[in-house]
């Protein structure tokens, strides 16, 4: 019988290795796998590359999540790949001090690179970033009279995601804007670990309403995490 539920955080985190690339879902505190991030902090993997929408701990606009900031504080992040990193933030300081690398990319390019990884598309052209600093060092080619930048897929060794409801096959739904990066990171993770607010019996989620089919999900941990808070 397929049962992707794990019974403990230790089981959820088992086997995550130093040097891994970790995709961390969520946007503006909604759909963030907070419990799994805490589990990763506890688990101890280091030298990580973290892919997350925002790495800058600031009041507004896609705040970084506490777990990512804590991993950076602990010196366990080698590199962040993100769309938003403010100078006046812990991540910004780590970058200025040379303790951490940062690759800051347009948000649509980040999303598409992650989706491409999940879809087996190794590279694609996009008009986004052409003629800007983002295109530096990248191949540019014209399509339809517009310069387009060649971008590559961005897979994760691990994806940490948050679902609203899950069943034992790992089928997932999300709540409202909690969807965000979760479905595409689930696709792109070599090992996809979901925390879920609710547990459903198999067959309870209507086949037409499942957003992430279980084929993309490896482990599910039930964490009744409560409602997201606004960024501090």
């Amino acid at each position: 019988m397929i049962d992707k539920f794990v019974r403990s955080m230790a089981e959820a985190m088992n086997g995550i290795r130093d040097g891994s690339t970790i995709l961390v879902a969520g946007f503006g505190e909604v759909g963030v796998p907070h419990a799994l991030l805490d589990g990763l902090i506890e688990q101890g993997a280091s030298n990580l590359t973290i892919v997350v929408n925002s790495a800058g701990r600031v009041h507004k606009t896609g705040d970084a999540t506490a777990g990512v900031v804590r991993l950076i504080e602990l010196g366990r992040v080698r590199k962040v790949i993100t769309t938003f990193l403010r100078s006046q933030s812990l991540a910004g300081e780590a970058v200025r001090a040379g303790r951490m690398e940062a690759e800051v990319v347009p948000q649509g390019t980040l999303a598409e690179r992650i989706r491409a990884a999940g879809a087996g598309v190794p590279a694609f052209f996009t008009p986004t970033g052409a003629g800007t600093l983002v295109a530096q060092g990248k191949e540019v080619r014209e399509y339809g009279g517009r310069p387009c930048v060649l971008e590559t897929a961005l897979p994760g060794d691990v994806a940490l995601i948050e679902a609203w409801c899950a069943d034992r096959w790992g089928n997932l739904t999300y709540k409202d804007s909690g969807r965000n990066f979760n479905p595409i990171m689930a696709m792109a993770g070599g090992l996809t670990i979901a925390q879920t607010h609710h547990v459903c019996d198999l067959g309870q989620l209507p086949a037409n309403d499942i957003v992430t089919p279980g084929i993309f999900v490896d482990r599910v941990l039930h964490v009744a995490a409560g409602a997201p808070t606004l960024p501090r």
Partner: protein, 219 residues
């Protein structure tokens, strides 16, 4: 000498947002960027159906919630709690930017640091060497939407022009802006250069030009 003393009154943030809202027709799909653009939503009358998109996968955003209808799982791209209208829907981030990049938005209104007379936009960094880089979704929106309007103060806090012959800050996208709304005027980006569509009452064309580095043309 203050502007007011010169016989005209610059718009405030609310006034600028209201001015942009005037020009958004019913039926458009619109993304409103962070800052002043976000305020525009409050000035679109409820009976004028404009479908608001947010980068985090929300289509059909409604106004800020009343306390009794707050939904912690529903935020906009500025991570403010919002509502969703009847007819609204949610998509994931790749689909959300398929909407953006695929040319499905009628309009995106962005904030700006600088706009050049050819429509170049700079709105994410003051220099190429900053450690911080706040790109977010602006580059995708700038290349993807059918129209890009910029709303910003006409000059910087210390009086430097923002509307230039060439941008000096790193670009968000080249040649993307079609219209500029400032606290002083509305300018159209045309093949012949910047054309003044509107000025605040009491502001002469010459006074506007004096606050603008790029050459302006009368409509």
């Amino acid at each position: 000498m203050s502007d007011t003393a010169q016989g005209f009154r610059p718009l405030g943030r609310t006034g600028m947002a209201a001015r942009v809202a005037q020009d958004i027709p019913a039926g458009w799909y619109v993304n409103l960027g962070i800052g002043i653009p976000t305020l525009i939503a409050d000035h679109i009358p409820a009976e004028r159906e404009v479908v608001l998109h947010s980068e985090n996968g929300v289509l059909g955003m409604g106004p800020a919630p009343q306390p009794y209808e707050e939904n912690p799982w529903l935020v906009n791209a500025s991570t403010q709690r919002v509502t969703i209208r009847a007819g609204g829907s949610f998509v994931h981030h790749a689909d959300s930017f398929a909407i953006v990049r695929g040319g499905h938005l009628d309009l995106c209104v962005l904030g700006g640091f600088q706009v050049a007379e050819n429509g170049d936009l700079a709105n994410w960094a003051h220099s190429a060497t900053e450690a911080g880089r706040q790109i977010g979704g602006a580059m995708d929106l700038a290349v993807g939407a059918k129209r890009v309007w910029v709303v910003m103060e006409h000059v910087t806090k210390d009086g430097q022009p923002r509307i230039l012959s060439h941008c000096t800050y790193p670009l968000t996208a080249a040649g993307c802006v079609s219209r500029i709304y400032t606290n002083l005027a509305v300018l159209e980006v045309t093949p012949k250069g910047l054309v003044v569509l509107d000025r605040v009452p009491g502001l002469s064309f010459e006074a506007l030009q004096a606050r603008t580095e790029a050459v302006l043309q009368q409509a």
